[in-house]
C-alpha cells in the first residue's frame, strides 16, 4: 500500500502522458463505469457538464443538442427545461493539466456561485441590506401586483441587465398601484 501511495504522489508531479501502473490497475477494476457516461454519445463524459435535473453530458454533445432545437430546449433524458446558463461544469482532479476546454468552441459555460439563500422569517420583507418590500393589491375586475420593490436603487445583483429590468418593472408596477389607489379614493 505504501509503495502504491508513493507511486501516485510521484506521478502527480510527472507529466501524465502515460498512465502509471497503479492508475491503470484501477481502471481495470472498474471497466466502463456507466455512471459517468454522457447521455448523448454514451461514452465517458468529456468536458463534463451536469444539468439542473442532474443528467450528465459532454459539453460538446449537449451544446450540439441545444443548437439543433434553439426554440425549445429540453433535457434529452427527462425533457426538463435546459439552457446554456443552467448547466454546471464538472472539474475532476487532474483536469487542470489539460488545455482549458472553454478555449475551444463552443465554450463550456462557467461555473456559477450563487449566494446562500436567506432564511428570514418574512421572505418578502427583508430589512437587511437595502429595504425590500413586497405587496399586492387585488380588486375585481382588475388585479395588480407589485412585487420585489427594491428601494433606493438597490437591486439583487447590481449591474446585470436583468436586475435593471426587474427594477424598472417593479417601479412601473408601484406607480400603477399608487395611481389605482388614488383612483379608488376619488371614485
Amino acid at each position: 500500500m505504501a509503495s502504491n501511495a508513493t507511486e501516485e504522489n510521484a506521478s502527480e508531479n510527472e507529466n501524465k502522458s502515460e498512465p502509471t501502473p497503479s492508475s491503470s490497475q484501477n481502471e481495470n477494476n472498474e471497466p466502463n463505469n456507466p455512471n459517468f457516461e454522457c447521455n448523448i454519445c454514451l461514452d465517458t463524459a468529456k468536458e463534463a457538464v451536469v444539468s439542473m435535473c442532474g443528467h450528465l453530458f459532454c459539453w460538446p454533445c449537449l451544446s450540439r443538442w441545444l443548437e439543433t432545437r434553439p426554440n425549445r430546449s429540453a433535457c434529452p433524458v427527462c425533457k426538463a427545461g435546459i439552457s446554456r446558463d443552467k448547466v454546471i461544469p464538472l472539474y475532476g482532479r487532474g483536469s487542470g493539466d489539460q488545455t482549458d476546454p472553454r478555449d475551444k468552441t463552443p465554450p463550456r459555460p462557467q461555473g456559477q456561485r450563487s449566494e446562500p439563500e436567506n432564511n428570514g422569517m418574512f421572505p418578502g420583507l427583508d430589512m437587511g441590506g437595502g429595504w425590500h418590500v413586497s405587496f399586492g393589491i387585488g380588486a375585481f375586475p382588475f388585479m395588480f401586483f407589485a412585487n420585489n420593490v427594491a428601494g433606493f436603487g438597490q437591486a439583487p445583483a447590481p449591474g446585470s441587465p436583468q436586475a435593471a429590468q426587474e427594477q424598472f418593472l417593479s417601479k412601473v408596477f408601484l406607480w400603477v398601484a399608487l395611481i389605482f389607489i388614488f383612483w379608488l379614493f376619488i371614485a
Binding site: N39, I40, C41, L42, D43, C61, R64, W65, T68, A74, P76, V77, K79
Partner: protein, 179 residues
C-alpha cells in the same frame, strides 16, 4: 511536362476537398460511427427477444432490423423486416425507419412509412437503435388511432378478430409473393 509549370503554392482543389472530407471524418462522422458501434453493442448485449438489428454490409449508417410481434397481439409470431437510415447528424437527428415487409397498421402506410412521434419532433439524443426498435414493437400493439396513416386499419382496430385476420392475411400474402 505541363504539370511542372503549375504554381506549387496553389492548392489543388481536389486535394483540398479530400482534406476537408478527412477532417469531417475525424471530427463529425467519427463520433457518429463510434456512437453507432455503441448502439450495436447495446442491442447485441441486451438480448432483446422481439427486436434485432445489424448494419447492412460495410455501411454503418444503414441497418436492417427485424421486429417480431408479441404474444397476445394481432401481430403474434409475425416477423417484420425494417430498414434504418442514420443521418450524418445522428444522434442529434432521428434515424429514418421504414418497414420493408408490408405492415397492416393504423400508423404505417403502404410504403412502409411509420408515423411515430419519437421519430419526428419527440426525438431525443438519448435514444438509440434498441429504444427505437422497442418503441416500434410497442406501437404494433398500441396504435395511435387518432391520427392514422391507414384509416381503414384504424377503423378495423375495434374488431379484434377481424383485425388479427387481416394482419395475418397481409403478412401471408407478402410471404407468398417473396417466395
Amino acid at each position: 511536362m505541363a504539370s511542372q509549370n503549375v504554381d506549387p503554392t496553389r492548392v489543388n482543389p481536389n486535394t483540398r476537398k479530400q482534406r476537408d472530407k478527412s477532417e469531417l471524418l475525424s471530427g463529425g462522422l467519427h463520433s457518429v460511427t463510434q456512437r453507432l458501434q455503441q448502439d450495436l453493442m447495446t442491442l447485441m448485449c441486451s438480448g432483446e427477444k422481439y427486436v434485432s438489428g445489424f448494419p447492412d454490409g460495410d455501411n454503418l449508417f444503414h441497418w436492417k432490423a427485424t421486429i417480431t410481434g408479441a404474444e397476445g397481439t394481432a401481430y403474434e409470431g409475425l416477423e417484420y423486416k425494417l430498414e434504418i437510415e442514420f443521418p450524418d447528424r445522428y444522434p442529434f437527428a432521428a434515424p429514418k425507419v421504414k418497414f420493408l415487409t408490408p405492415c397492416y397498421h393504423p400508423n404505417v402506410d403502404n410504403l412502409g412509412t411509420i408515423c411515430l412521434d419519437i421519430l419526428k419532433d419527440k426525438w431525443s439524443a438519448l435514444m438509440d437503435v434498441r429504444t427505437v426498435l422497442l418503441s416500434i414493437h410497442l406501437l404494433l400493439s398500441e396504435p395511435n388511432n387518432k391520427d392514422p396513416l391507414n384509416a381503414e386499419a384504424a377503423q378495423m382496430w375495434q374488431n379484434k378478430t377481424e383485425y388479427a385476420a387481416m394482419v395475418q392475411r397481409k403478412h401471408r400474402e407478402h410471404a407468398a409473393k417473396t417466395e
